[in-house]
Amino acid sequence: MSRSILKSLSLTLFNIESFSAFFAPFKKTLPQTYTNNFYAAKVVNIFDNNDKIYTLTIKVNSRFSFYPGQYVELLVEMNGRYIKRCFSISSSLKQLKQSKTINLTIKKQVSGKVTPWLRNNLTINSKVAISKAKGEFTLKSKSKNSLFIASGSGITPFKSLLLSNLTNGSFQEITLIYFERGQKHIFVQELEQLTHTYPNFKLIFMDTKKQGRLSIKQLALHCDDFLSRDIYLCGSANMIQDNTQLLINNSVSEAHIISEQFTSIQVTDLNLKQDRIIKYAKSNKTIFQNKDEQNNLLSLAQNNKIHVNYGCGIGICHECKCKKHSGIVFNTKTQTYSDNGEEDIQLCISIPVSHVSLGL
């Protein structure tokens, strides 16, 4: 029977889109796995890389696949709430093939709610769910030499890229420059092992505390042919911005720079007096809100002629409910700050305090 017939049958009989969704509350599997957007998965190992970084090994569905460098959304139930976060895969294709597992290497955000919770509460056999692999941070050319520049937990996608691609001889030359504060680098042994096995792989550890950030002098010293290479950057927003600028200033064409930005904003880091950009994804509109303005998202949408459902305007009726893809908002009814991740919010009582992306 075709899927659409089953769907309308299930809707008619039980007012729900699928029979598996009808039975979802009876099962331990996360309900998102019935929506086709997530795969059921479970934790099979937890390893501390150091006191701030840990690696989860996750058993995945046999249909799961990825390109090295991509990330997944990890979905967990945290105190009754389904929370998802994006993490780069740090393991190889070979590992996926052999044991149907992937590794997610995660940094505990100092004032974050989710990343420390995951480490303290997930145990072996914990049920989780993961999305399909996403992202464009994958190898662009198998024949061209590459330069990888990682900062902090930005090392994770490179680990997967290296493990998966060195072994099948894809690279001609590859150099990894890996920045971390105070020599807290992770994967040190594995990376060093790779340099022994693959002479085309060159590895440089940099201590940001001692050696500072990337400079053109360092670049010339460690990778003098950087102009002829594809350059991959992964790290914080600042790191990406600064290094991209540095490379462009030194005649690297923008087409040869591939970057992946790790963002994690916390309320404590927020400068509440900053300009904010509100993206309305469906209407394809972007609104700029001045740092002194404190408008709620409903009036912002209305002022900018974006079609929006609404009702009471005081946070009672939930008619203006809308999906927030990312960003932090302040709830004027409960006087609390939201999470940075995806969730439904009531526009009429939500004031954006960071850049916000909405499904409207």
């Binding site: 009808f22 309900p31 009754g80 389904y82 459902n309 009702g311 009726c317 008619e319």
Partner: protein, 369 residues
């Protein structure tokens, strides 16, 4: 009692906000487990009910048991699950199915249409004559704010019919049927959804419910077609009578205040809270009774905090009662018999051109300062 002053209203708002914040801080795993447990009970009851209804040919007792189980399922789906989920009480869970935007319930009324009118119009403008269309559902005259007409004479009969067909009444009412189908428009009402959309939702959801209970499930039972058809009809009627009865006890008992639009223009949060307390009524009962009413037996608490998980109203009511006492605000509650009798009395009373009985049917404008 006297009308409380502005300062008292401001303090009332602070105290009730504190009650809300205390509960919200505690919302979490227990609430998620609770609603999933209720959904499991409801879906089990539905499956058991539908199987037993078919086995009516073995013994009518099995059929009766099946009808009761299916009624239980329909009541839970309508009240503790549907009503509360559609209020957004569980939206914080980020569950793809247990949330106000996705949930669809087992009644004729399309969930989105209901949400729009109930959550916005009824909960924002509770008991404001002319704004809260739920006050009498446009069918019953329940206060002298509306002039008496000859047709009101038989409104007690209309009430009984409405109760039996409650799901259809709600469905027609929520899309503002008199406007959409008969063109009776009010000048000051904005239409955010087009008549065509409303009609489409009305017919497609209504048809789906008819197909399900009176065609598809009976056909699946083959030779026992009639057992299933009558069983489903009985379960729907039982659910209709139950929900209608409980809902009427929420605002139409004696002692429920009515308000005018002018009194509520630019009202403060404190005034809004005050109005919700004056316009709602509770029913005393045990744990299972409260669950079957979807905790609408705590109508006062529900109107103060419509989006807090409803099973928390039991605990919240202790705080609300104390606050009501402190500010000398009436806390309308009583046994099911007392409250229901007073609803019947009100429907009957206003079917005649009667004088105001200020003690039974108070108006906010008549409260002394």
């Amino acid at each position: 009692m006297k009308k409380i002053n502005e300062e008292q209203m401001a303090n009332l708002a602070l105290e009730l906000n504190a009650v809300r914040d205390k509960q919200l801080a505690d919302v979490g795993q227990n609430d998620a487990n609770y609603i999933r447990k209720i959904i499991k009970i409801q879906r089990s009851a539905e499956i058991i009910g539908r199987i037993f209804i078919v086995s009516g040919f073995i013994s009518p007792f099995l059929w009766v048991f099946g009808v009761l189980a299916l009624s239980l399922s329909k009541i839970l789906d309508n009240m503790e699950i549907g009503h509360n989920v559609l209020h957004g009480q569980y939206d914080w869970m980020n569950d793809p199915y247990i949330n106000s935007q996705q949930f669809e319930w087992d009644i004729a009324c399309d969930a989105a249409s209901w949400r729009r009118v109930h959550n916005y119009e009824h909960h924002t403008y509770t008991n404001i004559i002319g704004k809260d269309r739920d006050f009498g559902y446009g069918l019953l005259r329940l206060s002298n704010d509306y002039p008496w007409r000859l047709k009101n004479l038989w409104q007690s009969v209309i009430y009984v019919i409405l109760s039996v067909l409650f799901q259809w009444g709600i469905s027609f009412h929520e899309l503002a049927g008199e406007r959409v189908f008969f063109g009776k428009k009010k000048a000051n009402r904005q239409n955010k959804t087009s008549d065509e959309q409303l009609k489409k939702a009305f017919f497609s959801k209504g048809a789906r419910q008819i197909v399900k209970d009176y065609i598809l499930f009976p056909v699946l039972a083959g030779p026992f077609f009639l057992w299933v058809l009558v069983g489903n009809l009985a379960a729907n009627i039982i659910r209709n009578l139950w929900t209608s009865t409980i809902i009427f006890c929420g605002h139409f008992t004696s002692g429920s205040f009515t308000f005018t639009e002018q009194e509520c223009e630019n009202e403060s949060k404190g005034h809004w809270y005050y109005r919700q307390m004056l316009g709602s009524a509770n029913i005393n009962g045990g744990k299972i009774f409260h669950i079957l009413t979807g905790h609408l037996s705590f109508q006062v608490e529900h109107h103060l905090f419509p989006d807090i998980p409803a099973h928390r109203y039991v605990a919240i009511s202790k705080d609300v009662k104390q606050i009501a006492k402190k500010y000398d605000i009436p806390y309308n509650t009583g046994s099911f018999t007392k409250q229901y009798f007073s609803v019947l009395k009100r429907v009957f009373y206003f079917s005649f051109p009667v004088k105001d009985d200020k003690s039974l049917y108070p108006k906010f404008s008549e409260l002394k300062k």
